[in-house]
């Protein structure tokens, strides 16, 4: 004879169900609240600076804590240039690694190589910083930078880009380190979308007599374009916001120089270097305003990246 379930037990279950349901719902909403909180508090904190300097804050090159005058242009410029350098080097290398892993590499080597590249992402950024300052920058100063200055000395335009004494630290060094740091992010996404290409398409191309290179260029890359761009944007988002590694090697100079070998600063490095030393309210507010600008830029880049990747996923799902 089946046992009767008491009404009390049923009510207990209903209560637990409702409890868990609303608890999980509240937690999910917390994620949205966190983002909203970040935006509101950044805007709130940067209001004094934005009120004092207006839109000129973004275009002004002056950063003078003594006179309490602040302009964000050098930091924005440094952020964009270092990220640009990182992308110029990081994109081809990452895509190359992804091609190697998906198309060329023997099966037994796939896992170790993927893992090793992903471990690069596991190394904390402060380690890149300390390594960059003590090992990498002196190497550049002694070897690569004198070579670059010498090699481009006669070339028009490029001679300005690679001018000046080899400091070791500066925009160029920061960009190089960033390029190493974005490698794992771009590589792992590019590899994933490459692997989502239907084997039928590739085999058909091979059947027509295409070489591996032709298959990659004419079949794999066009098929995965949105995904690859999404991965690149994700890497870019990382490069723009990276703080510690850059802070060590950027030189923290609030000026815009023609030469990429010169010291500069980025938004994140300025905040990291100066925030605890900011003596006036306006100073603090200016730094928070920098943070707001950084957040807006990275938010747009990352949102675009997610949007592209989402489109790619839907395509693969069909």
């Amino acid at each position: 004879m089946p046992k009767q379930i008491s009404g009390r037990a049923l009510r207990g279950h209903a209560l637990m169900d409702g409890l868990l349901r609303s608890l999980t719902r509240i937690s999910a909403l917390t994620v949205l609240v966190v983002l909203g909180g970040v935006i509101v508090s950044l805007i709130d904190g940067s209001l004094p600076a934005l009120r004092a300097f207006g839109l000129g804050f973004v275009t002004s090159e002056t950063w003078n804590p003594v006179k309490d005058v602040y302009g964000a242009a050098p930091a924005i410029y440094g952020t964009l240039i270092t990220s640009l350098i990182a992308m110029v080097i990081g994109i081809p290398v990452s895509i190359g690694i992804a091609i190697f892993i998906t198309e060329l590499c023997p099966v037994w080597l796939k896992r170790p190589i993927s893992t090793a590249i992903e471990l690069l992402a596991g190394i904390p950024s402060i380690i890149y910083g300390i390594w960059g300052l003590f090992t990498f920058a002196p190497l550049l100063q002694r070897h690569l930078q004198p070579f670059l200055i010498h090699a481009f000395a006669r070339a028009p335009l490029l001679s300005h880009l690679f001018a000046g004494p080899p400091y070791g630290i500066g925009l160029f060094t920061a960009g190089l380190i960033l390029s190493i740091m974005v490698l794992p992010f771009i590589t792992s996404i590019t590899r994933d979308v490459f692997e989502a290409v239907p084997p039928m398409l590739k085999e058909a191309a091979y059947g027509l007599g295409c070489t591996t290179w032709e298959v990659v260029r004419k079949v794999v890359l066009p098929y995965t374009r949105a995904g690859v761009i999404g991965g690149i944007m994700l890497g870019l988002g990382r490069a723009l916001g990276e703080t510690m590694a850059v802070t060590f090697v950027i030189g923290n100079a609030h000026r815009i120089s023609a030469s990429i070998l010169a010291p500069g600063t980025t938004i994140s490095a300025s905040i990291a270097n100066e925030f605890t030393e900011a003596s006036s309210n306006l100073y603090t507010s200016a730094l928070i305003a920098l943070g707001l600008i950084l957040f807006v830029i990275t938010f747009i880049v990352l949102a675009a990246a997610r949007f592209l990747l989402l489109r790619m996923e839907r395509k693969a799902g069909v």
């Binding site: 937690s27 190359g96 090793a116």
Partner: protein, 269 residues
């Protein structure tokens, strides 16, 4: 030719990993000693001392940050995978969460500074732990949702058909099936925050002395490395390198454990 280039880029990528690790071991191992784990950080110019207070502080901050961030993350992931699978809220949270996942961590530091440090009037370990929790959250949300979605619906249906209420299905069936995956997510989150420096710079700050008071600034490895490495004192720099070695070894170990855990999981399937 082009294929050769792709092979070269793979070698290029791996070379950095080897170069950084080799350098770290080379410079860091020189400072390994017992006093590292028994003494406090030395004053400027000092030539004896360890990093005990920083080790302890980092441990405390990481544990509290994980304890705050993980439950919220797991519950949010549960909502997305169990209750609101197709709702607009889930889609929005997923999108925002993915953006938070790669948002610059220094901005999180600024936020916590505004909300906690300014209100409390001083830097504190609590503020640092909250900042870290905000970095744990998106990682755990993401992996929990992914892992719960991997659990076959037949399991849920089977449990429901023998009369189990929803909360019991989730607790006794779904969570158990996805346990390894969720633990992997938490481990990855711990690995991520234990090396984070930027959000601690103006929340937990740093402390030269032993402190277990969560309302006071607390010593921690990343900020200590930052300050000591940029100092002019050779002994401080040596301590920074050794601390960097310890932190990297711990994080890579965590990463590898997490990876093996999830791999064992997928082979079972």
């Amino acid at each position: 030719m082009a294929m050769l280039l792709s092979m070269l880029s793979a070698v290029f990528g791996l070379a950095w990993l080897v170069a950084i690790l080799a350098d770290l071991i080379w410079r860091g191992a020189a400072g390994l000693s017992v006093q590292l784990f028994t003494q406090m950080t030395p004053p400027p110019g000092g030539s004896t001392g360890g990093i005990l207070n920083a080790l302890f502080g980092s441990f405390v901050l990481t544990v509290i940050g994980t304890l705050i961030g993980t439950p919220i993350g797991i519950l949010a992931g549960t909502y997305m995978a169990e209750y609101g699978r197709k709702t607009r809220l889930t889609a929005t949270v997923r999108f925002i969460n993915d953006v938070l996942l790669s948002a610059p961590s220094i901005v999180v530091g600024l936020f916590v500074y505004e909300v906690l440090v300014v209100r409390m009037g001083h830097f504190s370990a609590w503020a640092g732990a909250v900042a870290l929790a905000m970095l744990v959250l998106p990682v755990v949300v993401r992996t929990t949702e992914d892992m719960l979605n991997l659990v076959p619906d037949q399991l849920r249906e089977a449990a429901c058909s023998i009369g189990a209420p929803r909360w019991m299905v989730i607790r006794k069936v779904v969570y158990r099936a996805a346990r390894a995956g969720i633990i992997t997510g938490v481990l990855l989150a711990v690995a991520r925050i234990s090396g984070e420096t930027a959000p601690l710079l103006f929340t937990a700050l740093n402390n030269q002395f032993w402190s277990a008071n969560l309302n006071q600034p607390m010593a921690n490895l990343p900020v200590m490395i930052f300050q000591f490495a940029l100092s002019p004192y050779p002994y401080w720099q040596q301590l920074a390198w050794t601390a960097a070695l310890l932190i990297t070894a711990a994080i890579l170990a965590l990463n590898i454990i997490a990876r093996t855990l999830s791999r064992g999981r997928f082979n079972e399937r």
